[in-house]
Symmetry: C2
Subunit: 309 residues, 2 copies
């Protein structure tokens, strides 16, 4: 909320979609750093702490996360922090999550909480309070959160309300990158379409009121890069949604697989990369920060080229 | 894991479903206390702390949760802790969650973490590690967790693995109690059934290998008591699943609405009650513990009678 003016607080909130667009154009990057800290995979200098009890492990994860922000920050527009890995370390892990969030925001990066939350009524509002609602302390704690659509529109309303009021964003799971995504998402509806097409249309509807100056909505969608044809279909069904496209790297997809996601503009898709960047040191043996920076820089260029912008 | 014997650790794990059945029969109760601590609704004696910063608010929520365990514990078989309300207080909230979990388990109650989690691959394993996987410290931290099926079978596999290995349970969202549940769950498939019927069949399949001595599976399902007809259909589609039936009380359903859930046995369904019990003092002005105990006792009897056992 750096641009907030005391006199006109309502209009001065810059929508998430516009902040993404500005960052993508300034950095010429559509990359998001996926931070999935697993104690057993940490670099040698942090691994001892990772096995010295939960509090030490959480602190090691925080140091790893912040080090990655320093190293890869110049090549990405944001970080996607995977809440599960922090939650696995309980209250200490949540403290590490908060530290990593604050560090990434201070570094000028957008922060996406990857929590895939979804609940109803006052519980959904509590999740919004937890992650995206503006607090008295000033400004939301993260810029966007991933959410699950299975519970329907009323479960997403508090996140939409936060988007309207505080300029935060959300990414709704539509077609996920895993094999099991077929079980529910690919079920055939009576009109012949798969379930996820209908979810995509709901996302387009929900996002219509939240389109910013760059023509993109703050209601985005998660679509697995592992299904290139689905990426193209998703682009057509949700022309204004920012698509978050996991699956490149460890899951086997390549930048070429997501090229068609970018037809709505250079910022109309974001590519999260995690394991292939943050654990690059395990492959090439270099210093972990150096290895992460090199891999992020390489992927940034490759994705930008594939995007055609 | 109280009954675990050093010599035969494998066979000594009592499956979640059997622990539920044993508790239901011993206590003649199918009630689960839903703990949704909201700082702004706390009893007067705790409310000052609730507004004295996050750490104090979290501590007040822990005291409230533990006080409810003391008061309503005799009338319920378990507690369902709503993670969102703890997460809304960040790392301090998670510490309160852990305190409440430990307190409820020490009081002999089953603990269900209501987190509605769902993710893939190593992330799904991290969620299982966080909540249901047996840890080196001995035994799982909670007895069961609620999970979201939208990402499909591979997203649930780590929870099923924990169930096999550690005797924990899971409740899969099938047909939720809110109005928006129609958006995805009620979409009509090509064979004329709603999406949630297919999810129910998946749940029955996943649960088949985890049926305990009482004929019930440790893979349960969440079905909204607000849709009485769906409760009956769910019972037919998942004859061995323990149904978790939210919606009684504040959401408008009554014990009579869930009667048909119990045809597979007295423990074949659990009824979580939250607001109407934990905030009962706000209605009748009595001491909050006394009010919660009275309302839990009343509902326990009503549900038991409605169940026909």
């Amino acid at each position: 909320m750096e641009q907030e003016l005391a006199a006109v607080p309502q209009t001065a909130v810059v929508p998430f979609a516009d902040r993404v667009a500005e960052a993508v154009e300034r950095k010429r990057s559509q990359l998001v750093l996926g931070v999935d800290p697993r104690p057993e995979l940490l670099p040698l200098e942090l691994r001892a702490a990772a096995h010295a009890g939960r509090a030490a492990a959480a602190e090691a994860c925080a140091r790893f996360s912040c080090g990655l922000v320093d190293a890869a920050g110049p090549y990405v527009v944001g970080v996607k922090l995977q809440l599960a890995f922090f939650e696995a370390l309980g209250a200490d892990g949540l403290a590490a999550f908060e530290e990593a969030c604050a560090y990434a925001r201070a570094a000028g990066l957008l922060v996406i909480a990857d929590g895939k939350r979804g609940d109803i009524g006052s519980t959904a509002r509590a999740y919004a309070d937890a992650y995206v609602q503006a607090t008295e302390a000033g400004g939301p704690r993260v810029d966007a959160i991933t959410v699950n659509p299975y519970l329907g529109s009323d479960s997403l309303e508090p996140f939409l309300a936060a988007a309207r009021r505080s300029g935060t964003g959300l990414f709704v799971l539509v077609k996920t990158s895993n094999g099991g995504s077929a079980d529910v998402q690919e079920l055939t509806l009576s009109d012949g379409r798969p379930v996820w097409h209908q979810v995509a249309e709901l996302v387009a509807d929900w996002g219509e009121e939240l389109v910013g100056e760059h023509g993109l909505s703050s209601v985005g969608a998660v679509v697995g890069a592992t299904y290139p044809r689905a990426v193209g279909e998703a682009r057509r069904l949700m022309p204004q949604a920012i698509l978050l496209l996991p699956g490149i790297g460890a899951q086997g997809a390549t930048p070429a697989d997501v090229a068609r996601a970018f037809t709505s503009g250079p910022a109309s898709a974001l590519v999260p990369v995690s394991r292939s960047v943050i654990y690059a040191f395990r492959v090439d043996g270099a210093d972990w920060r150096t290895a992460a920076a090199a891999e992020a820089a390489r992927l940034k260029r490759e994705v930008w080229t594939a995007s055609g912008w």
